[in-house]
């Protein structure tokens, strides 16, 4: 292929993607002295220039409403002007479309920058439970994982100890304890919510969040500005960029090629991965690098896309896709949010409720023993909200609508501020045959790369779970003497989150014992191509009610240890 510019250098391990999975692989391998080349589709992250930490809304003339008041016309950034997700990320990316099949609903949040979505994510860090690894044994649905909790537990330990996770030891089966830093104390309204949850028999415990409350590996402890979502200039929360990739650069073993959009993984005559073709976005030229090992960690759906686009004589259905399961079993998390108004919280003395960003308490799933009697399989956890938040554009539209104008409006805003509570359920979806992604045969992006087409359907299982959430949240609000205002998120349609909008999409490159119906073995290694690994949410067999990032970290860490050993033995 004469048009391809080939770099003469032979790379050792090429990692595609720099989020939780790619960042962990880069960190673990470089620490063991293995050379890593990291391809990232977006630019380098520069926290000092990119993060808007500590800015007040009035520090920008549009106050966060965006130029021309874009937010009033639905043209704002996904999580607000100040959020780090606005750094080269969003529900749509210019020039990089995806399509959704007729009759399906799916939104795909992508981030194109070093660190990916770990720069802005909620940082809730929950271990899977022991029972989460054999869901099929429990209720006959979905499939079992090829690994057990005991296999992964040492890597949860390593990941938690290195990243730094808050929490307390509780001995609750659905929420296994880990290596914890002390959590910050609960806020006043959270203690009222905790009373309500105890009344309903629901545990309400310290949040497990990737924020450090004690110094760790040279990172200073949290300064409690409550703005983790904006990105943290002191790296007191976890992002793969600041906690793994920047330190890995200092080892001299990591090379980053940014603005590099991987198009295809090349294979040699024996069917081994031999290199990667990518588009250099700055010059719009095609480049190729040769390497010994390829680790794909581009996010569940991007990884599936890359494999499906890597077709050859030996792999006519896409690389490592002899089973035909690449792209299948796409899952998101079941989401539902509800807001309530609690008069007893009106006019309390004000204090700083920012804390470590987000709630300091949460409710793990509590009915795992009643599973057969609930009318739906699996479970969910509950995230809570409330307090005296930094006023933002849009926060007082409801008050303006309800209270007219003048002195009365001002008085009402003062009274209502801090008296709202919010609950969000995050539940497990059962994989189904109608939810998957595939290559759209008609559309390429601006880099000439065929794009994904999504198919997605919630089933009755998810719908019934969302109804259970709705009843539980209403009961919580009412037991506090509050009034239900309604479902909160504008991503909730028809009483359940729009697929994709919880941004927990997983399952498209799943692992399993059987090469007939899975892509990877329990070490994230392709059944068919021994020097190809996938280390992101694509590997998930099920999507328990635990936010996926910590498990991506742990799986990637375990895969890296395995890979290093296989390389040492000369097997890879």
């Amino acid at each position: 292929m004469a048009h391809i510019k080939q770099t003469p250098e032979q790379h050792e391990v090429v990692v595609i993607g720099s989020g939780a999975g790619g960042g962990t692989v880069a960190h673990v391998l470089t620490r063991m002295g293995i050379r890593v080349t990291l391809l990232e589709a977006g630019p380098m992250l520069n926290p000092l220039a990119d993060f808007k930490e500590h800015l007040w809304p009035h520090d920008v003339d549009h106050r966060g409403a965006e130029e021309g008041g874009g937010v009033y016309f639905g043209r704002g950034e996904a999580f607000g002007h100040f959020n780090a997700s606005a750094v080269k990320g969003g529900w749509t990316l210019e020039g990089e479309p995806y399509t959704v099949a007729r009759g399906s609903d799916f939104l795909w949040f992508r981030s194109r920058v070093v660190g990916g979505r770990t720069n802005h994510y909620g940082r809730i860090s929950l271990r899977f439970s022991d029972y989460d690894f054999n869901p099929h044994d429990r209720d006959g649905l979905g499939a079992n994982w090829p690994i057990s909790y005991e296999d992964l537990a040492p890597y949860y330990d390593k990941a938690e100890a290195f990243i730094g996770i808050t929490g307390t030891r509780e001995g609750i089966r659905s929420a296994p304890d880990g290596v914890f830093q002390p959590p910050p104390p609960p806020k006043a309204h959270e203690l009222v919510i905790q009373q309500a949850s105890h009344k309903l028999g629901i545990p309400c415990i310290a949040m497990r969040r990737a924020v450090i409350t004690r110094p760790l590996n040279g990172r200073p402890a949290c300064h409690y500005c409550g703005q983790c979502g904006r990105g943290c200039l002191t790296a007191s929360n976890y992002s793969s960029s600041q906690v793994q990739i920047f330190p890995a650069l200092e080892t001299g073993k990591l090379k980053i090629i940014h603005s590099a959009m991987a198009r295809e993984i090349l294979t040699d005559a024996r069917g081994r991965a031999s290199g990667v073709v990518y588009i250099d976005k700055k010059s719009r030229t095609e480049k190729r690098i040769d390497c010994r090992v390829v680790v794909v960690a581009a996010s569940a759906c991007e990884s599936a896309r890359l494999l499906l686009n890597s077709r050859s004589g030996l792999f006519p259905n896409g690389l490592a896709n002899g089973s035909g399961t690449v792209g299948r079993f796409l899952m998101d998390t079941v989401g539902l949010g509800m807001a309530g108004y609690v008069p007893s919280l009106e006019n309390l003395p004000r204090y700083n409720t920012d804390g470590m960003s987000g709630a300091h308490l949460y409710m793990p799933w509590w009915q795992w023993e009643d599973q057969g009697r609930l009318g739906f399989p699996r479970g969910y956890h509950i995230e809570i909200g409330g307090g005296y938040n930094m006023p933002r554009v849009g926060d007082f539209h409801g008050a303006a609508r309800r209270h007219g104008y003048g002195r009365k409006l001002k008085e009402q805003v003062r009274k209502e501020y801090g008296a709202f509570v919010r609950f969000a359920g995050r539940g497990e979806m059962i994989p189904n045959n109608l939810s998957y992604c595939e290559i759209d045969p008609e559309v390429v992006d601006r880099w000439g790369i065929p794009v994904l087409r999504f198919h997605f359907k919630w089933s009755d299982y998810e719908w019934k779970q969302a109804r259970h959430m709705e009843k539980t949240f209403a009961a919580l609000i009412e037991s506090m003497g509050g009034k239900v205002i309604g479902l909160t998120s504008h991503f909730d349609r028809h009483g359940i989150s729009v697929p994709g909008t919880i941004i927990h999409e997983v399952g498209t490159v799943r692992m399993g014992d059987n090469p007939q119906n899975s892509v990877l073995n329990g070490f994230c290694q392709s059944h068919e191509v021994e020097n190809l690994l996938v280390c992101d949410g694509g590997t998930f067999v099920s999507n328990p009610d635990k936010n996926p990032t910590l498990t991506i970290n742990a799986l990637a860490w375990r895969a890296s240890d395995y890979l290093a050993e296989e390389m040492r033995k000369g097997n890879v």
Binding site: H58, D59, H62, A188, T234, S236, G355, Y388, R401, M480
Partner: protein, 239 residues
């Protein structure tokens, strides 16, 4: 590189960027140093100074009469009271003018809305809105609020549209007319939401509601007295 910067550089106020760089450096140097409150405060101070003080605001889009009307409306929506200043003090007119100057769609909503208001008061009282008496102004705005009552609008919507998904509610410009005041109802909704946005994101509004965060603290604490008060008032008693 000289060890001492020239005098002129020492005196120049630090920009937010420079301040953040200083903080980052300090943290790198000391590693485990607690992030001090004062640093966060410096960042804010620097950000304010960077914006600079510019004298009286010159509207970018609105004519003097239009701007005078917007100022009056902002003052009526969020008046000064014993707690805090008005939405004019909170910068609402500048905010509205700036955004309208950047967006013709928004500008049309405002220029059209203002002409509608003037036509309305001229018809009833022979004066433009801003020159009408306070009582006349209030009576018109009261009617716009009343006509725009969410429950009333919902009932009207249900009759007109049933469960149509085209209807998008408060934040859009698509409510079906329920009376000849409907254009004013919609315009006053725009005014109110942008006025509260500007006011409550201003230093005055933030102080008015009593938000106390966006600062760096060494140890996060919740006052025990507030916890006790919150629990005492709740249905759970002083648990």
């Amino acid at each position: 590189m000289s060890e001492h910067p020239p005098e002129s550089e020492i005196r120049r106020p630090l920009t937010r960027r420079q301040m953040l760089e200083k903080i980052a450096l300090a943290l790198t140097a000391t590693g485990a140093a607690p992030f001090e409150f004062a640093w966060g405060e410096h960042v804010h101070q620097a950000a304010r100074e960077e914006k600079g003080e510019t004298g009286a605001y010159q509207p970018k889009l609105f004519k003097p009469h239009e701007y005078r009307t917007i100022r009056r409306l902002a003052e009526l929506i969020i008046p000064a009271d014993e707690h805090s200043g008005s939405a004019v003090d909170g910068g609402a007119p500048e905010f509205i003018d700036l955004l309208c100057s950047q967006n013709p769609e928004l500008a049309d909503i405002y220029t059209g809305g203002l002409l509608w208001l003037d036509a309305q008061t001229r018809r009833q009282h022979g004066a433009t809105f801003v020159d009408a008496t306070e009582a006349q102004q209030a009576s018109l705005l009261d009617r716009l609020v009343e006509e725009g009552d969410p429950e009333k609008m919902e009932a009207a919507r249900a009759t007109r549209y049933g469960a149509s998904e085209d209807y998008q509610g408060f934040s859009t410009y698509r409510i079906d007319p329920v009376s000849d005041l409907a254009p004013g109802v919609r315009f006053f909704e725009w005014l109110r939401k942008m006025t509260v946005d500007a006011f409550y994101t201003s230093p005055i509004g933030i102080e008015d509601v009593g938000y106390q965060g966006n600062r760096a603290v060494g140890q996060y604490e919740v006052p025990e007295s507030i916890i006790q008060e919150a629990l005492r008032r709740s249905p759970f008693g002083g648990a």
